[in-house]
C-alpha cells in the first residue's frame, strides 16, 4: 500500500467510525420514538373499544416489529467495536512499519547485509498487517450482512405503517386522530431507514477502498 492509499484508508475508517456513532444514536432515538408512538396508538385503540380493533392489530404488530429492529440494531454494535479495533491495530502496525522503512532508507544497501534480522522483522510486520486486513474485511462483510437484515426489518415496518394508514382511513369517522398517529409512526420509520441507508453507504465505501 502506498502512503497516499494508507492516508486515504485511514480517513475512510475515521469517517465510518464517526458515521457509526451518529447512526447508532439516530437509530436508538428513532426506535425509542417508534415504541412510544406504537404504545400511544394502542392506548387510543383500547379507549375506543371494538370500533378500532383493526387498528389495534396494526399497532401491536408495529410495536413487535420495533422490538425486532432494536434486537437487529444491537448486533450492529457488537460488530462495529471489533472492526474499529482491527482497523486501529492496522494503524498501530503500519506505524511500526514506517519506522522500519525509515531505518532501511537511511541505512543504504549495506544495511540488510549488516543486519539480517531487519528484513525478517519487516516481513513479519507485513504479514501481521495482511492478517489484520483480512480480519477487518471479514468483520466488515459480517457487519454489512447485519445492516442488510436491519434494512429488511425496516422495510417490513414500512409495510406495517402502510397497513396502519389504510386502517386509519377506514375508521376516520370515529374522530380518533389515527391518521396523525400513522403519519408520526411513518416519520419515525423513515428516520431509521435513512440512518441505516447512510451507514450502509459508508461501510460499502470502506469495503470498496479496502486493500
Amino acid at each position: 500500500m502506498t502512503p497516499e492509499q494508507l492516508t486515504r484508508q485511514q480517513e475512510r475508517v475515521m469517517e465510518v467510525v464517526n458515521a457509526s456513532f451518529r447512526a447508532r444514536q439516530d437509530i436508538d432515538r428513532a426506535l425509542r420514538e417508534i415504541d412510544r408512538r406504537a404504545l400511544n396508538a394502542m392506548v387510543l385503540v383500547k379507549k375506543h373499544g371494538n370500533a378500532l380493533a383493526g387498528y389495534g392489530v396494526v399497532a401491536q404488530a408495529f410495536r413487535e416489529r420495533a422490538a425486532l429492529l432494536r434486537e437487529s440494531a444491537s448486533h450492529l454494535q457488537e460488530n462495529i467495536a471489533p472492526l474499529i479495533e482491527a482497523q486501529m491495530r492496522i494503524l498501530q502496525q503500519q506505524r511500526l512499519l514506517q519506522n522500519f522503512a525509515q531505518v532501511e532508507n537511511s541505512g543504504g544497501t549495506n544495511l540488510q547485509a549488516q543486519c539480517a534480522g531487519l528484513l525478517t522483522t519487516r516481513r513479519a510486520w507485513d504479514k501481521a498487517i495482511a492478517a489484520e486486513q483480512e480480519n477487518a474485511r471479514k468483520i466488515l462483510r459480517q457487519l454489512l450482512e447485519e445492516v442488510r437484515i436491519l434494512q429488511e426489518g425496516v422495510e417490513e415496518q414500512e409495510y406495517v405503517v402502510t397497513s396502519g394508514r389504510i386502517e386509519a382511513a377506514l375508521v376516520e369517522a370515529s374522530g380518533v386522530p389515527l391518521m396523525r398517529v400513522s403519519r408520526d409512526m411513518g416519520e419515525a420509520v423513515r428516520i431509521v431507514a435513512r440512518a441505516v441507508r447512510d451507514y450502509r453507504q459508508q461501510l460499502e465505501r470502506l469495503q470498496d477502498e479496502s486493500y
Binding site: M14, F21, E85, R89, R95
Partner: protein, 249 residues
Amino acid sequence: MKATKVFEAKDHRWWILYDQEESRVIDSNVYVMESQGQAFLLDPGGFEIFPQVFAALVEAVPPASIQGAFVSHQDPDIASSLPLWHACNPKIQWHIPALWEGFIRHYGALEAPLQDIPDAGGNTLIGGRRLEFIPAHYLHSSANFHVYDPEAKVLFTGDVGAALLPPGHSAWVDRRDVDGKSFAAHIEKARYFHQRWMPSNRAKDDWIERVRKLEIDYLCPQHGAIYSGPQVQRFLDWFATLPVGNGIA
C-alpha cells in the same frame, strides 16, 4: 475495555474507559470529558492498548468531537499512543507539561500541536466549560498535573489514588461502603504503588493541602477505580498519613 459514565448533567458528561484486556502492560484508565458536543481526553494511554481504547471511546463520543487532550506526565502508559491519536485526528490540541515537551515528542509526534502547561498550571475551555490544570509536581513525575472540573466536581488525579486491580475490576471503589471496609480492602492494592512510585512527602503534603480546598465528588485515578462521595475523604486521610519514597532504605 468498557465505557461507563462517571458524571452527567445535561450536555456535560465524564466517562471512564477501563478494564483493559491486555494484561502484559499495566492496566490503565482513560477519561473523557464531554461538554456541548466537544470532547477532551485525559491521559489517552499507551501505544499497545490504543486499539481497545479507541474502540471503547466510540461507545462514549464520536472521535471527531475530540478537541483536546491532556497528558499528566511523560510516562509511556500515559502518552505513547499520542502519534496514533494524532494520525486519527490531527486537530486535537495536546496539553502537556512544558518540561516534558521534548521528551514526549520522542514518541513519534513531531508534528502534533502541543500546548505547554507552565509549572504554575493553567486552564482550558471545552464546550464552554473550564478545566483547570492543577500542579501535582513530584506525584510522581517531576512535572505533573491533575485536572479539575469545578462544575462536575471531578478531579482527575493521574497516578495519585492508583491501585493495581485484577482483570474484570469495577470502575468504582464500592459506593455503598458505609463502614469503610471495602475502602480498607481496596487501599491495600494502592499502598505499594504510592509508597514506591511517589518520591516526596513534602510534595504529597503540599498537594493534599491544596486539594482539600476543592469540592470533589469524584477522584479519578489513571489506574484502578474511582473514589466517590465519602471515599474521597477517606483516600485523602489515608494518603496524608502514608510515608512515601520508600525506595531508599
